[in-house]
Amino acid sequence: MRALIIFCHPKKDSFNAAVLDTVTDHLDKVGVEYRLRDLYRSNFMPVLTAHELDCYLDETCNADPVAQDVADVQWADALIFIYPTWWYGLPAMLKGWLDRVLLPGVAFIMPKGEGDNIQPGLTHIKRLGVFTTCGASWWLTTLIGAPGRRMLTRGVRAICAKRCRTVFAAHYLMDSSTDASRTRYLRTVAARMERLTA
């Protein structure tokens, strides 16, 4: 197993950083090789530009501006996302990573002819982990339809390998979290990671 961790939080000392530590500790423990993409610390630019969109469908050069990210995605067979949920969705920083890196020829195989459909391009990804924190309650998030969770565990998962092993955990009501609830959540993350790497 080779994991690519996509980590997205503006604060170095955030609780999300503790989630990241829990994930990497587990990977170290079980001896899984991983690469870490820390979007904020590396000043990732999330805005897909007009130029990128112009060559979006040209698979010979569309990946040039994000070559390292594409190489990381192609190297990995597991993707792990760690981020805070804002507005029931991914932070713009992380959404922009999807916009710019999950390209035709990388993540999608575009229709070639009449009646064809878009085909999955991440079929080498066999494991998917999603860990997030939400200000809203589980109830409100579910009522809204959990767009962030679904974007990853359904949208991205749909372009990964069939029966891609998927784990998800969220700490809801983050603004009224306590030491106990956070510790409990980190234990849940560790348990989900056990399942992901099993």
Binding site: W86, W87, M93, M110, P111, L140, P147, R150, M151, A158
Partner: protein, 203 residues
């Protein structure tokens, strides 16, 4: 006695948020149609093209630290907050990329829809705070099919009709989507363009 004429709606002030990088794209044609239709109704339109204005969608570390510090949290995006607060109608025009808004538009929500602006926290509960907005619309294009979007739970539709709706509680909500853009021919595109015009004329 002649029947009373149809009362035209009072002119409104609309904020149009557009998020497509290519000026001659189909999405920008939709954007232009939205703006001209609303102006044609005598509305004032604040045409906010996020790419053209060079909006930065990244919520910074400092903004995250001050996120709940009302009213100072609006300082870095004061102009955008004022423009949002002035609106009676909000129209979002965007392409769906990878099952969601472009980062540009998502960042507008992250940075401008702040506590004290779009919602208030009352005892941990979200209370809508953009209730001046009586009309909410989204005009969007999907590469994939409707079925494909539905299988993923159609996240962008839910973001608009539930998450943004929740803080505005508008009287009218419209979600106008063209699915299957990758295979849409000219006729289909033209027909959606005029559909958008018609829908916004009666919006």
């Amino acid at each position: 006695m002649t029947p009373a004429p149809t009362v035209p709606s009072t002119p409104q002030h609309a904020l149009v948020l557009a998020a497509h990088p290519v000026p001659d794209s189909y999405n920008q044609a939709l954007h232009a149609r939205v703006v001209e239709t609303l102006k044609g109704r005598g509305w004032s339109v604040d045409d906010c093209d996020l790419y053209a204005e060079g909006f930065s969608p990244v919520l910074t570390e400092q903004e995250r630290r001050n996120y709940h510090e009302t009213p100072d949290n609006v300082t870095p995006v004061k102009d955008y907050v004022d423009r949002l607060r002035a609106a009676d109608a909000l129209v979002m025009v965007f392409p769906v990329w990878n099952f969601g808004y472009p980062a540009m538009l998502k960042g507008f929500l992250d940075r401008v829809f702040l506590p004290g602006v779009s919602f208030k926290l009352d005892d941990g509960k979200v209370v809508p705070n953009l209730t001046r907005i009586r009309r909410l619309a989204a005009v969007t294009t999907y590469g994939g099919t409707r079925m494909r979007a539905m299988l993923c739970g159609d996240p962008p539709r839910k973001c608009v009709t539930r998450a943004v709706w929740h803080v505005c509680r508008p009287r009218t909500t419209k979600y106008l989507a063209l699915y299957g853009m990758n295979k849409a021919d000219d006729a289909k595109r033209r027909s959606f363009l005029s559909h958008v015009g018609e829908q916004l004329r009666t919006f």
